[in-house]
Amino acid sequence: MWGDADTAIGGTGDRFPSTQISLIEAAGGEPVALERVASLYWKPVYKFIRYKFGKNNEEAKDLTQGFFASALERDFFRRFDASKAGFRTYLRLAVERYAANRHEAEGRQKRGGDIEPVELEDTVAGGGSPEEIFFQEWRRQLFALALEELRAECQGAGKLTEWAVFEAYDLAEGERPSYAALAQLHGVAETSITNYLAWARRRLRALVTERLRGVTGGARDLREELRSLWS
Amino acid sequence: MNKIFVGLIFGAILGAIDGATAWFTPDVRTMMASIMVGSTIKGMLVGLLSGWFARKVDSVQWGILLGSVLGLAFAYAVAALQQDHYLEIMLPGFVVGAIVGFLTQKMGTPAPVKRTS
């Protein structure tokens, strides 16, 4: 998994560089919408650029910053036509255009800056095309953000046991504890475990859907994205 | 039009046509008129009975069979009256009967199904 600490500048999942926030606010677009888009898409765009254009960490970060700074101006959202394509595709194409323009502008020839997918040393197992990676990262980030919201919600509402159970079971890497073990650990009945999990999953689904609503262009786009999400 | 009518009308027409073909047999040309009348009546009888049968029984095969048999029978009667031209009268009569039987099965409205109450 991408444990590259150097991506911390945009990589902890719930925040992106403060420089970006101010640039976006300055650009004058609806700040909430822009923030939602950037917080979701920063990592996917970064990884996409790395894979699609064979850039190293620094170059990719630079390009990603540049994209969000320049592309996220007023026009970017207004030019989006929901009837033609989903927002995710629209954004990805914009990234490609931006990177190509930068490439041209800097006059770089074939020095590893070719616009072709390149195998990197620390490839994600089971690779896939840059577009697939973009989608995977997007999905991952979507869930990560929603999970953060869920955790905050649980902590705020005092649902600490619910969160603990959910985290122990659904967020477990490797082997999952049994319901019985969890029940014993937290001193509740097994049926409660079932209920906590059901509740947490329901909330997560709602949070994911809501976040998705905020970055799609209307009902149709949302429906298509939801469909891709769960398949 | 019910099946009896179909039988009568087609029996008459086909009988008349069949009778008219007697013209091709020179030695009976003089009797054309009576031949045609007789043939027409013969056809109508076959048609009447076939039509009545067709109202009760819905089967093309049986209709054709009955028509042929009736046609043959009446044709024999006519031939027997003259003691001559048995083949020329009975064979066509047989086929015409078959045609009339077929037509009464395929065309016209059958008897309505009576309710028991």
Binding site: G3, Q136, L204, A219, R220, R223 | P92, V95
Partner: protein
């Protein structure tokens, strides 16, 4: 928070699975994903029978209700609808035991069978149109042919889903004639390699690029196909006189044989008698 691929996969699975607690159903396997939602097999614990459950997000439930109101032998009956704890809507309907029309055609059934299926689909469509409901996404994958000859038209699409390219009419705004197009495409799909020209012509007419060049409605197409089955002339296909004569001969075979027999008898007697 970093999510590994496996955790992400697990979360997707587990969050998407419908929570049926509080309903009378037990979740079975996933049967398919359509434009509107996901269909699962399920067990109705009260009536002790298998059903199909279609689960969808609440926004599109209104349309589902419209479809649930349709009652026709060619349209899958809806038993119940309800809301799940997570806000999703489900409706329980008959679980059809059979195969999709694309598999049905692949088995290589005789032409009569193919047309029978087509006619049943047409009847269901005509009924739906009469109540104001369009299908919009007619294709072999949305037709089920049951084990005992039942034919069901499934997955009635609603505004916005768009249809499937090969079977979708070119015009932007869907109306009855778009379904006529889809119906024609279905006919073409069901026809075998060496299909009668008249049937191909019917399909082609139904699939005209311009809606006004197509049949006005589905019943018109049905009548055409029925005329073909009865050996009559078909509006879409201009026959040569020779084809027309052959058709006439086929329809009136018995009578023609009888007349031929008469002529043969007369001829034989004419030539044999004088001798």
């Amino acid at each position: 928070m970093e999510l590994s691929d496996s955790t992400l996969r697990h979360l997707c699975e587990v969050v998407d699975q419908p929570d049926l607690s509080g309903t009378r159903y037990q979740l079975g396997e996933e049967l398919g994903r359509g434009g509107l939602g996901v269909v699962y097999a399920a067990h109705d614990t009260q009536l002790d029978r298998s059903v199909a459950l279609k689960v969808m997000d609440a926004d599109w439930a209104g349309e589902a209700r419209l479809i649930a109101r349709l009652e026709h032998p060619g349209i899958v009956p809806v038993y119940e609808s309800g809301v799940l704890p997570d806000g999703r809507v489900f409706y329980a309907m008959k679980l059809v035991d059979g195969m999709r029309a694309d598999r049905f055609a692949a088995v290589g059934p005789p032409l009569g069978e193919r047309l029978r299926v087509l006619l049943r689909v047409g009847e269901a469509l005509a009924y739906a149109h009469s109540t104001g409901v369009l299908h919009r996404d007619l294709k072999p994958q949305n037709i089920m042919v049951g084990r005992f000859g039942e034919v069901y038209v499934m997955d009635w699409a609603v505004e916005g889903v768009g249809g499937t390219p090969a079977f979708r009419a070119p015009e932007a705004l869907a109306d009855q004639r778009s379904d006529v197009y889809g119906f024609g495409a279905l006919l073409r799909f069901l026809l075998p390699e060496a299909a009668p020209a008249a049937l191909q012509a019917i399909a082609a007419k139904a699939m005209n690029q311009r809606p006004e060049d197509r049949y006005p409605d589905v019943p018109a197409v049905l009548r055409e196909v029925e005329r073909f089955q009865d050996g009559l002339a078909v509006e879409a296909y201009a026959e040569t006189w020779w084809q027309r004569a052959r058709r006439f001969a086929r329809r009136n075979e018995v009578l023609l044989w009888l007349l031929a027999a008469y002529a043969a008898v007369k001829f034989l007697l004419f030539f044999w008698r004088p001798g």
